[in-house]
């Protein structure tokens, strides 16, 4: 589907299949269209073109209050004039359920988010974490087919965020509801999601598990988004998607794996190398296994679980490589070789 505001496309030709019961993360920088996509699923924006199918039924044109989809807002949007229980019961009251049923479901939700003692509290007397739970409980109370979460942890501080991530996963597992989470935080997406969809300037550039995105990025943007990466640009040799191909770089020809079709032979492309996959060896002799790059160590940073080395390659660029902590540290100034395993080097279009 596509959404344009005026002539500006906010979401461009996005096609996406959600699996029932999964946590799907829409990941991207602010303004990439992920929130617009979420709002289209909720029914607050109408797609300019395309369809939204849920169990085979087209939701386009169905107003938000008739969709079996609920949303947890980034600001939580708790009703300040209602108690915690009142907030949670709001959606159930709109359904016209019996009083006893509403009370039972509200109590069940309060138990789910562990807020039993705070049912009568007003939202302004709650902490940020408690407010987040109320918002979650309110959105889940109607037992939606799909729960949309807009930056669900964005307003929490770091220490609370990690605990809440685990809790969110736990609740999702228990209920089996499909979650669609919008986030700009790659780390959060990796922790939460079964699958991640990376959005960039209105387009969905890659969909896959965290491991797929990390190890087999489809674009330079995806490669840089998740974790640290070394990027070496060059010209592609012959070959195609799914094959090992030579990239002619300023550091000499390097072999990488073309997972998604990086381009025609002769096109410019980029080799994405994870620092932890570079094999760092002292001395100036190669290992013989794949290509290796001569470099001079600039510095070493001890990070507890690993050591981060920065090394200057032959053409002056700085490459980053990590070694597990506990290996014999190398001294700055030392000549090293950086081994590039072809299966760990991903070729992406420039």
């Amino acid at each position: 589907m596509t959404k344009r505001f005026g002539t500006v496309p906010a979401v461009e030709a996005v096609s996406l299949d959600l699996a029932a019961g999964e946590i799907f993360c829409l990941l991207g920088p602010s303004g990439c269209g992920k929130s617009t996509l979420l709002r289209m699923l909720a029914g607050f924006e109408a797609p300019s073109a395309g369809r939204i199918l849920l169990d085979g039924r087209d939701l386009a044109g169905v107003p938000p209050h008739r969709r079996p989809v609920n949303m947890m807002f980034q600001s939580y949007a708790l009703f300040p004039h209602m108690s915690v229980a009142g907030n949670i019961a709001y959606g159930l009251k709109q359904e016209g359920l019996a009083k006893a049923e509403i009370a039972a479901r509200t109590a069940e939700m309060l138990r789910l988010v562990q807020l039993e003692g705070l049912a009568a509290r007003r939202p302004d007397r709650l902490s940020g974490g408690q407010r987040q739970r109320v918002a979650l409980a309110r959105a889940l109370a109607k037992r939606p087919r799909v729960l949309l979460l807009d930056e669900p942890l964005g307003a929490l501080d770091r220490s609370l965020r990690e605990a809440t991530q685990a809790e969110l996963r736990e609740i999702q597992r228990r209920l089996g509801t499909t979650f669609v989470v919008v986030t700009h935080d790659p780390g959060e997406a990796m922790v939460l999601a079964d699958r991640i969809g990376v959005m960039d300037r209105g387009r969905l550039v890659q969909v896959g598990s965290a491991a797929t995105l990390y190890e087999r990025p489809a674009t330079r943007y995806v490669a840089g988004l998740l974790g640290d990466v070394n990027l070496i640009e060059g010209r592609l040799g012959p070959g195609g998607a799914g094959q090992a191909r030579i990239l002619d770089t300023p550091l000499g020809p390097l072999t990488g794996t073309d997972h998604h079709g990086a381009g025609e032979a002769g096109a410019s492309a980029v080799l994405a190398l994870r620092p932890e996959r570079l094999r760092l060896a002292p001395g100036s002799e190669g290992e013989g296994d794949g290509e290796s790059l001569p470099a001079t160590l600039l510095d070493a940073t001890y990070l507890g679980d690993r050591i981060l080395y920065r090394a200057r390659a032959a053409d002056g660029r700085v490459l980053r490589a990590t070694a597990p902590a506990g290996t014999a540290p190398l001294a700055p100034g030392e000549a090293v070789r950086l081994g590039v395993p072809p299966e760990a080097a991903a070729l992406v279009p420039a």
Binding site: P63, P64, Q94
Partner: protein, 318 residues
């Protein structure tokens, strides 16, 4: 120097500023309280005293007047001369009760009308594009640049028998002959609603403009239709603006004099006009003061009620 001595020295050094802080804490509330005392408390006592006096052909036109140099005897004479006769007149003469009832009825009806007219205007303003809103607020306030008296006077030209309104209705074929609007109760209502509209719209706008739009979206998302979302979220959350606007309109309309005087004709009895005629035509200051006290009681009722309601709302359920 040990730590204890250092702390003592520190305490001594901060004693001066702390005393100044305490002074400031006492002085700051003294400003509004002093203002209230001088411009509300004292005048109130004076009016109360006059309402308990008898009219006199003298200067000032009432007795008794306290002789400040007379000592205890003068005080006891003074107090003995005060009575509730004027209040008895208010109750005995149906004129005053009728005026009070009309005033109360007009003020209530006008406040309801103001809510019905003002709410959609305020809502529209709050939902208008952000860049347009300052202009809309300015347009709401611009009529205040002309004298209130002139604006109400202009309504005579609109409402009179061969006025603009009748001409328009005749031209549209809605009426066969001119209807009498001027010098009727509807004319007063029209004038009052027109005159007090900004006092209803502006507080409502201030509340609605700050209302988080995502709250309405959340209500919609949870299954509320547009109307239901308005009734359960927008309306309750705009209650403070509604109460503020209603009080800002209701209180002055109770004592309104210009609108009933110009548009209501000679037969309309409202407290403002009764007060005026007692004071200026009959020069019966004590009775006029009693009417003023009656007005105060009528106004105090809703103010206390709304304050209680607001306090309950803020406290929330136990």
């Amino acid at each position: 120097m040990n730590a204890g001595a250092r702390m003592k020295a520190g305490a001594r050094m901060s004693a001066g500023p702390r005393r100044r802080d305490r002074l400031r804490r006492l002085l700051l509330p003294a400003v509004p309280f002093g203002w209230l005392l001088v411009f509300f408390g004292l005048p109130f006592l004076i009016v109360l005293k006059i309402s308990l006096s008898d009219p006199a052909t003298a200067l000032p036109p009432y007795t008794p007047v306290l002789n400040w140099d007379g000592g205890v005897a003068a005080w006891s004479d003074f107090l003995a001369a005060l009575d509730f006769e004027n209040y008895r007149t208010l109750i005995a003469d149906p004129l005053y009760l009728a005026a009070a009832t009309t005033s109360l009825g007009v003020a209530l009806a006008a406040t309801v009308l103001l809510v019905l007219v003002g709410y959609p205007i305020a809502y529209g303003m709050a939902r208008a594009p952000k860049g347009l809103q300052p202009l809309l607020v300015a347009l709401m306030v611009i009529p205040f640049w002309t004298s209130f008296l002139i604006r109400i006077y202009a309504w005579i030209a609109i409402l009179k028998g061969d006025g603009l309104l009748n001409k328009a209705l005749l031209a549209l074929g809605l009426i066969a002959r001119p209807v009498e609007i001027l010098n009727t109760l509807p004319a007063i209502l029209i004038g009052v609603v027109y005159a007090y509209l900004p006092f209803m719209v502006l507080p409502l706008y201030a509340v609605l403009e700050r209302l988080d739009r995502s709250l309405i979206e959340a209500a919609r998302d949870l299954g509320a239709s547009r109307l239901k979302a308005f009734l359960t979220v927008t309306l309750p959350l705009s209650a403070p603006g509604l109460v503020a606007g209603a009080l800002l309109c209701f209180i002055p309309i109770i004592g309104e004099f210009i609108v009933p005087d110009l548009l209501g004709g000679p037969d309309t009895l409202m407290l403002g006009r009764v007060l005026w005629s007692e004071f200026f035509s009959n020069r019966d200051w004590p009775l006029a003061a009693a009417v003023a006290m009656l007005m105060l009681v009528i106004v105090a009722g809703p103010v206390v009620f709304f304050r209680e309601a607001e306090a309950r709302r803020l406290e929330g359920p136990p």
